[in-house]
């Protein structure tokens, strides 16, 4: 009873956090943050009780809709996702207060807070929704609020386009979910979500349900090739909304797939193969696209696709474990997927907030125009560095611990009686890891290091109210990375909900990661102290004897990534204008290159255009003359009359 009260308090506090701000003008931002902080407190206590105390709760309320009642079940799996949702959204609302201030944006700032709160409330509902109709209501609420937030600056054409693509994609996803849940209901006989009967997964309706749910949840999670809405939407939204979309909303798609895994007692092995194949290809290609982007936020959006792909690799291993009956593999793959999910809810919002601070301080998000910001924005640059190292999966930060579990799962799957295709996630993760290092050293180096590439005017550091939420998230990244063992009981309980009796403690000793980190940091501190104390002088960069270097001869982001992007030209299909250099004294020339999303431009848009053309004959029916419409009504009535007679 207490726990369900906490849950509904969190939902209501979050959902109404933006309401007082609609009337109270000056203190609206603070009230929203305080209410969301209250929601975070309720949510964290609830998640702690479930994940560390082993409690569960249930709430069943009547609803006037047929086949539906308001059924909520609080299990470890949902609570594991609930915790970062409430915590990070509260921090984002603090960040948003000055980033998207009322002084600057007026009424739009109030609207944004209103949509933000409802979106968070809907996500909290989703983590415990146990009836398909409740789930779809909350899902649609979350998705629509996302649309309103993405299009908040709708005077900008690119924002309208990004929002429109999002709108279509999310409804396509909801449609798939409707169909998928109906198929599940036909098997279980109820719209309550729960375990599926054994053998259903292998039948034709089971296959259809899997594919529909994979499409619906995959569209939300942004797995390639269903990611087409994601780069545009994340680039157009205000940065803290991008952080919410990327850090938290994508995870609701993953939550759906985790639930599907939990409900299915006997998935066929090809489900695992499909998840793994999608994860491996989309992870590698997403990073290739990320390396080709100039826009910082588009780059971060592609990196989200990559991280979702890593989670898919973990899901695929867990699915294979279930199909083959290897309990340890379900635990390692599931815990790895959950751990990486949690990590991505921390470092991706951190990076988006960092991108917001860069835009706030310089007024641009074009990386090629930036440079040397570490001197003007030292705090933002330090926090962005933590996020970059964490997202590359480098020890001793949190990103590594999650990927480590997925690696261990792959190695376990290669063992006796295992699943030999597990070598695919293993190799894919190695390539993804190296590409991520390339991608984020490029971003960090081009934005924060070296010298400014263009005249940026006066650059200012972000205010404390924006830096503090970033510092909290960065601190969490470091703390989880240094002591991942603290999450072990929570991961154990949450992954057990996927249907395994194995225990994480017997499979992976997360404590050793802390030992390695301690040794490494100790060694670094000792060496650092020795070098730092050496007397030094300052001079220009030794550029191999160049007497008068300028900032323009620095390596650009495009040239840094060129060797890698060239090997992916077959899929990137960049639009470039390459000047021809002729004669002894060539005239000044301009080189331009741009990499739009090839899946959106060459696959989705043409097929949508084709569909629109194919449907154009329907226009004949709608000529716009009133008598014709009356004729339609009469014909329909007569037809109905005839039909009822016979």
């Amino acid at each position: 009873m207490l726990l369900s009260t906490l849950f509904f308090s969190a939902v209501f506090l979050a959902a109404f956090s933006g309401v007082p701000g609609l009337v109270l003008q000056r203190v609206g931002g603070w009230t929203a943050s305080v209410l969301l902080a209250g929601a975070a407190l309720c949510g964290l206590v609830l998640a702690g009780a479930v994940l560390y105390g082993g409690m569960t709760w249930q709430a069943d309320l009547p609803w006037r809709l047929p086949n539906a009642h308001l059924l909520f079940k609080g299990d470890a799996l949902g609570s594991f996702i609930l915790a970062p949702v409430v915590l990070v959204s509260a921090l984002l609302s603090v960040y948003g207060k000055d980033y998207w201030s009322e002084a600057e944006h007026g009424y739009a700032a109030r609207q944004l807070r209103f949509f933000f709160g409802i979106c968070v409330g809907a996500m909290v509902l989703l983590t415990a929704a146990a009836n398909a109709l409740v789930f779809l209501f909350a899902w649609e609420g979350m998705a629509m609020m996302g649309f309103f937030m993405i299009t908040i600056s709708d005077q900008d054409a690119s924002v309208r386009e990004g929002g429109w693509v999002y709108f279509v994609a999310t409804h396509l996803g909801t449609l798939c979910l409707f169909a998928g849940f109906s198929l599940l209901a036909s098997a279980t006989g109820t719209f309550d979500l729960g375990p599926l009967p054994a053998g259903f997964a292998a039948t034709a309706p089971g296959t259809a349900a899997f594919l529909l749910l994979l499409a619906g949840f995959g569209l939300k999670a942004g797995i390639g090739p269903l990611h087409v809405w994601l780069p545009g939407a994340h680039a157009s939204a205000p940065s803290h909304v991008s952080a919410l979309l990327s850090g938290l909303m994508l995870k609701m798609g993953i939550l759906g797939l985790l639930r599907l895994l939990a409900w299915t007692p006997d998935p066929p092995l090809w489900w695992a193969g499909l998840l793994t194949g999608l994860g491996a290809t989309s992870g590698i290609l997403a990073l290739a696209f990320a390396l080709a982007q100039k826009d910082l936020k588009r780059m971060l959006a592609y990196s989200s696709i990559e991280n979702v792909s890593i989670i898919f690799l973990g899901l695929g291993l867990a699915m294979a474990g279930k199909a083959r009956g290897i309990e340890a593999l379900v635990m390692l793959g599931g815990a790895g997927a959950l751990f990486h999910l949690l990590n991505h809810t921390l470092f991706k919002p951190l990076l988006f907030m960092g991108a917001g601070s860069v835009m706030h301080g310089t007024g641009t998000r074009d990386m090629e125009r930036l440079g040397g910001l570490a001197k003007a924005m030292p705090r933002t640059s330090l926090l962005f560095l933590v996020g970059s190292a964490a997202i590359c999966g480098l020890p001793p930060l949190n990103g590594f611990a999650g990927e480590w579990l997925i690696y261990l799962g792959s190695f376990r799957a290669l063992g006796p009686g295992g699943w030999l295709w597990a070598v695919v996630p293993l190799v894919a993760l190695a390539i993804i890891g190296a590409l991520a290092v390339a991608c984020f050293t490029r971003a960090y180096g081009v934005i924060f290091l070296g010298e400014p590439r263009t005249d940026l005017g006066p650059v200012h550091e972000a205010p404390d109210s924006m830096l503090r939420p970033m510092a909290v998230v960065a601190g969490l990244c470091a703390a989880i990375g240094l002591a991942p063992v603290a999450l072990q009981p929570a991961l154990d309980r949450a992954a057990s909900d996927l249907g395994t009796t194995a225990h994480l403690s017997g499979l992976a000793s997360l404590g050793y990661l802390s030992l390695v980190a301690a040794i490494g940091l100790l060694a670094a501190a000792a060496v650092w102290d020795r070098v730092r104390r050496a007397p030094s002088t300052v001079a220009g960069t030794w550029d191999c004897g160049y007497a008068a270097p300028t900032a323009r001869i620095q390596y650009t982001g495009a040239s840094f990534a060129q060797m890698l992007t060239e090997s992916f030209y077959w899929v990137l299909r960049p639009l470039e204008r390459r000047p021809r250099i002729q004669g002894l004294f060539p005239r000044s020339a301009v080189f331009r290159i741009r990499t739009p999303d090839v899946f959106l431009d060459r696959a989705v848009k043409p097929s949508v255009d084709f569909a629109a053309w194919a449907m154009s004959w329907l226009r004949i029916l709608q000529a716009g003359h009133l008598p014709i419409y009356i004729l339609y009504v009469v014909v329909t009535l007569v037809a109905l009359f005839v039909w009822t007679l016979s």
Partner: protein, 307 residues
């Protein structure tokens, strides 16, 4: 109780003391091939002693991150040295999945060295950094395919048992796939340590270099750390290759000298390769790395067929 402590002490002191010897051996072999007397084998020790006493010069463009590169490379080298088995059967620091941590540690060093290179704003260092991250994309899967193959072979994910099982397998049917894994890892060893035929540590043509060009701006103790970190990496990754081949007797007074001798032989081998081969064209480097990936894949598949 006393035995692990002794192993730990032996491993740490040997690594700290002997790592800078390897570049000396390599250079001596190269000099002998060229008919020169060459620098003394202990030259790197002299250089380090000299650099540690010098002042530093920093670029006006650089920030505090500039020193993180050399510091990370030494810290990573020291940590990784505890995780690879040397004379004894197991490493001082071993646990399930330590092979993955071992591989990722070098990613940390790469991350910070690349950032330190970009920190100076120099175009040449940008080129080196770009090449470093590009070739890593192929070197990492080659390393991991080797690990996957060895893990298939013995069922463990800790470097100690993996390498111990592999070194016992050379006179069995496992020899075939082991040769392929060894080939893959030797290429990774040469690329990661920037040796000929992939990169030339002695070149002065900045346009073609990878690692050396990234550290152009380091000076004084920082440069000393760069050199020391590079020799630690040579030592640790060399230990991986040597332990893959070197069988163990189980008697410490035989295994430790054999390991040190193995490392010396490896250094001489590198010296011979550098003397008889030219540097590959930059575009060929990725082809050689793809060969390493293919070799690792076939090693894995052969173990699979045997299992």
């Amino acid at each position: 109780m006393i035995r692990p402590v002794l192993t730990f002490l032996a491993q740490v002191s040997l690594t700290l003391a002997l790592a800078p010897l390897l570049p000396g051996i390599i250079n001596k072999v190269k000099a002998l091939f060229a008919g020169r007397v060459g620098p003394p084998v202990l030259q790197l020790y002299f250089d380090l002693a000299k650099l540690m006493r010098k002042d530093s010069v920093y670029s006006r463009s650089s920030t505090g991150l500039f020193l993180a590169g050399p510091v990370a490379s030494v810290a990573v080298g020291l940590t990784a040295a505890l995780m690879v088995p040397m004379g004894g059967a197991g490493a001082p620091l071993h646990f399930t999945g330590d092979a993955i941590v071992f591989a990722y540690l070098f990613g940390v060093a790469r991350f910070f060295i690349v950032l330190a290179a970009l920190d100076t704003g120099s175009a040449f260092e940008g080129m080196g950094a770009s090449r470093e991250v590009t070739f890593a994309v192929l070197a990492e899967p080659a390393l991991f395919l080797g690990l996957a193959a060895l893990s298939m072979h013995c069922g463990a994910t800790s470097l100690g048992p993996m390498l111990a099982a592999a070194s016992k397998g050379w006179n069995t049917a496992s020899a075939g796939p082991l040769v392929l894994v060894l080939a893959a890892w030797t290429i990774v060893f040469l690329v990661e340590n920037c040796r000929i035929p992939f990169d030339d540590p002695n070149t002065h043509l900045e346009l073609t270099m990878i690692h050396e060009v990234m550290v152009l701006d380091h000076s004084g103790p920082g440069l000393g750390l760069v050199f020391y970190g590079a020799s630690l990496k040579l030592w640790v990754l060399g230990a991986l290759v040597v332990k893959l081949c070197l069988p163990m007797s189980g008697r410490w007074w035989l295994d430790w000298p054999a390991f040190v001798a193995g490392m010396a032989v490896l250094a001489m081998g590198v010296g011979v390769v550098e003397s008889v081969m030219a540097r590959l064209k930059l575009r060929r480097v990725s082809q050689a790395l793809i060969a390493a990936v293919v070799s690792g894949t076939f090693g894995f598949l052969l173990f699979l067929l045997q299992a």
